[in-house]
């Protein structure tokens, strides 16, 4: 739990966004939930390129809002998919969903 968020990044983000912080976090959570759903449907054997892009995108925005643990897993998947060597056992959709939901709960509790 304590590794889920990078509070330093989040504190800085509060400074930057001010009143728009909640708008940003809502937008992040909605977008990411969509992307995660799309990722889940992707075919491991034929569509590693799409998986790479989606993981890359999720990684980037998550890191920006300090959702680090989830972001790190996205990065692992991104790198393997980019190399075309992503296997079933590495494509941990369940774990991704789990890490994301934990982060969302924490974000909501702290900032919304």
């Amino acid at each position: 739990m304590e590794n889920s968020l990078d509070l330093e990044i989040l504190n800085e983000l509060v400074d930057i966004m001010g009143d728009d912080m909640s708008m940003l976090l809502n937008s992040y959570m909605d977008d990411s939930r969509d992307k995660l759903a799309q990722l889940e449907k992707m075919d491991l054997s034929s569509d590693q390129e799409s998986i790479f892009r989606m993981a890359h995108s999720l990684k980037g925005s998550s890191r920006n809002v300090g959702v680090v643990e989830f972001s790190n897993l996205c990065e692992q998947i991104e790198l393997l998919a980019r190399a075309g060597t992503l296997t079933d056992s590495d494509f941990e959709i369940v774990k991704l969903n789990q890490l994301f939901e934990v982060a969302c709960q924490l974000l909501t509790k702290r900032y919304l």
Partner: protein, 564 residues
């Protein structure tokens, strides 16, 4: 500053937008490539931030499209990328990007980059503004120069430089480089030529060309001698030219009646008189400082005279030719010039041959000065174009009924040339304008006879060989300076007749006279200087009185008989 951010990732875009807004910029957001292109056109941002990976058009494609289609002034594109491989980053620049920033975006780095580009944009604007200003001034300047060129060409026109006894080389913009080449027919036939080289370039050098040309054409038409003309020119240039600008000049009179050339070289390189008969070249060195340096009190013109016939040519150059350099900065030089002339002695067009030699010598070396070269051979006896006097055709004007007389004594005989004075006074009668050349010829022949053979007692037989020729003019110059007594009385009586008028020239000199009967009988052979055949041809009657000390010549003119 207006900034466009294109990123399909909402989170990234929202954060970056807010960061930049916090720095005081006006931010437009585009959610993908297509949106970026339309927002770019809509808002004309000063700077564009593009995410590389976007659905639809990716960042590279957007960059290419907006760079290509935009007619706007330069704007920077900065790529936002989480790619880290060198080839990916290089692709950002190849696609027309100006820089890239790695994701996740660092607030401090993006601010520093945007600040740097803002400075460059401002610089571009300043340069564009200045370029516009310079362009405006430049166009203005060109217009002014064109106008100035027209004025120059009207005043400093080339005169009769296109006559077929002249070959020359002169660059079209030479006037603005200070080289001036003028030619005019002398009132009694023959030609006067001037090659002038003002120091320096551009306008300061060109300014002197105006008074010089005006004086040249004005005084030549009125029959003034080289000496009088150069004194006037020096006086004017001395007063108008800025310090450090002066004028090297070669001025040449070719008298086709007496087959004689008079030359004065002030500060210019040697001129060359070529005799094709004897295959020799005579060098005429500069004998005076250039014009515009010496005050009128100290200025003195001493011309040299040489026989000049159909066998002769004269070549005058400005220092641009002598100082033309080859690739080793070696100068063409006077020695090479002379040997080139000697090599081409028999050439029809020595000018062309010399220019070819200079071209070969210089090769591809750019020339810093103007190259001016003038080659003149003997002019056929041409009189000036008849001045068509359309005004006052019937009404006789000016000095149509008058006696003009002048008595010159002692030193005045050497110091003053009365011919222009008489000519100008007589020509105030417009009807005489077509007769200008004839009147000039008659008057100057009669006056020179009275002075040279009468007062000074010189024998024109001396002029028969070239040594004697120089000797003759030396004695004449010496005689004139030593003259204390002696006189020439000149009187011209102009009265109207039923159909025109009658001019009676009456000259008396203090000489010893001569055997009129014998000379008239022998014709031109022994006393050719008296120009009797020519005078008899032009006048209706010539009468020698008082044992040759006095001459009366009558010239009749008719309204209906205009000389060609």
């Amino acid at each position: 500053m207006k900034i466009l951010i294109a990123d399909d990732n909402n989170t990234d875009r929202l954060i970056l937008s807010r960061v930049l807004e916090n720095f005081g910029h006006q931010v437009f957001q585009a959610i993908d490539g297509t949106d970026a292109i339309s927002k770019f056109e809509q808002h004309a941002p000063a700077l564009v931030l593009l995410d590389v990976l976007m659905p639809g058009y990716d960042g590279y494609e957007v960059a290419e499209i907006i760079k290509k289609e935009s007619s706007r002034a330069w704007f920077p594109i900065i790529f936002l990328t989480s790619l880290t491989e060198a080839s990916d980053l290089a692709k950002c620049i190849d696609a027309g990007g100006d820089d890239f920033v790695s994701k996740p975006i660092n607030k401090i780095i993006i601010k520093a980059k945007i600040d740097a580009f803002e400075r460059i944009i401002n610089l571009y604007h300043t340069v564009a503004e200045q370029r516009e200003k310079i362009q405006f001034h430049n166009e203005h300047l060109i217009q002014e120069q064109e106008a100035a060129k027209r004025v120059f060409n009207n005043i400093a026109h080339r005169g009769c430089l296109e006559a077929n006894n002249i070959n020359y080389h002169l660059s079209p913009m030479s006037i603005f480089n200070g080289d001036l080449m003028l030619a005019a027919e002398l009132p009694m036939g023959g030609m006067r030529l001037m090659l002038a080289d003002f120091t320096g370039h551009g306008l300061p050098a060109a300014i002197g060309a105006l008074p010089a040309s005006e004086i040249f054409y004005g005084m030549t038409t009125k029959g003034f001698s080289i000496t009088d003309m150069m004194i006037e020119m020096n006086t004017r240039l001395y007063s108008v030219l800025p310090r450090g600008v002066f004028c090297c000049v070669i001025v040449i009179d070719i008298d086709s009646l007496d087959e004689m050339l008079t030359i004065w070289n002030a500060g210019a390189p040697d001129s060359y008189i070529i005799s094709q008969k004897t295959q020799t070249v005579e060098l005429i060195h500069s004998s005076h400082l250039p014009l515009g340096i010496q005050s009128p009190e100290k200025f003195e013109v001493k011309c040299q005279s040489f026989p000049f016939t159909k066998q002769h040519k004269i070549i005058a150059v400005t220092d641009g030719i002598i100082e033309a350099e080859d690739s080793d900065l070696k100068m063409f030089g006077e020695k090479r010039m002379l040997s080139c002339i000697e090599k081409n002695l028999k050439s029809e067009n020595i000018c062309e041959a010399l220019m070819a030699e200079v071209d070969v010598f210089c090769g591809t070396t750019e020339q810093s000065d103007d190259l001016s070269l003038l080659e003149v051979s003997f002019p056929e006896f041409v009189t000036q174009d008849v001045l068509k006097s359309t005004e006052n055709k019937s009404a006789v004007s000016g000095t149509s009924d008058a006696v003009i007389s002048l008595n010159l004594r002692g030193k005045s005989l050497g110091n003053f040339d009365p011919i222009p004075l008489f000519l100008q006074t007589l020509l105030s009668c417009n009807e005489l304008l077509p007769h200008r050349a004839r009147i000039f010829t008659v008057l100057s022949e009669l006056y020179n006879n009275a002075l040279d053979h009468g007062v000074l007692g010189l024998d024109s037989a001396m002029k028969n060989d070239s040594d004697g020729f120089a000797n003759y003019y030396q004695k004449r110059a010496q005689g004139l300076t030593e003259l204390d007594v002696g006189f020439v009385n000149v009187s011209v009586d102009h009265h109207p007749t039923a159909t025109g008028g009658k001019l009676v020239f009456d000259l008396t000199d203090s000489g010893n006279g001569f055997d009129v009967e014998r000379i008239v009988k022998e014709g031109s052979k022994n006393y050719s200087g008296r120009g009797l055949p020519l005078l008899l041809n032009l006048c209706d009657s010539i009468e020698y009185l008082d044992g040759g000390k006095r001459v009366q010549a009558t010239y009749l003119w008719d309204h209906n008989d205009i000389p060609e």
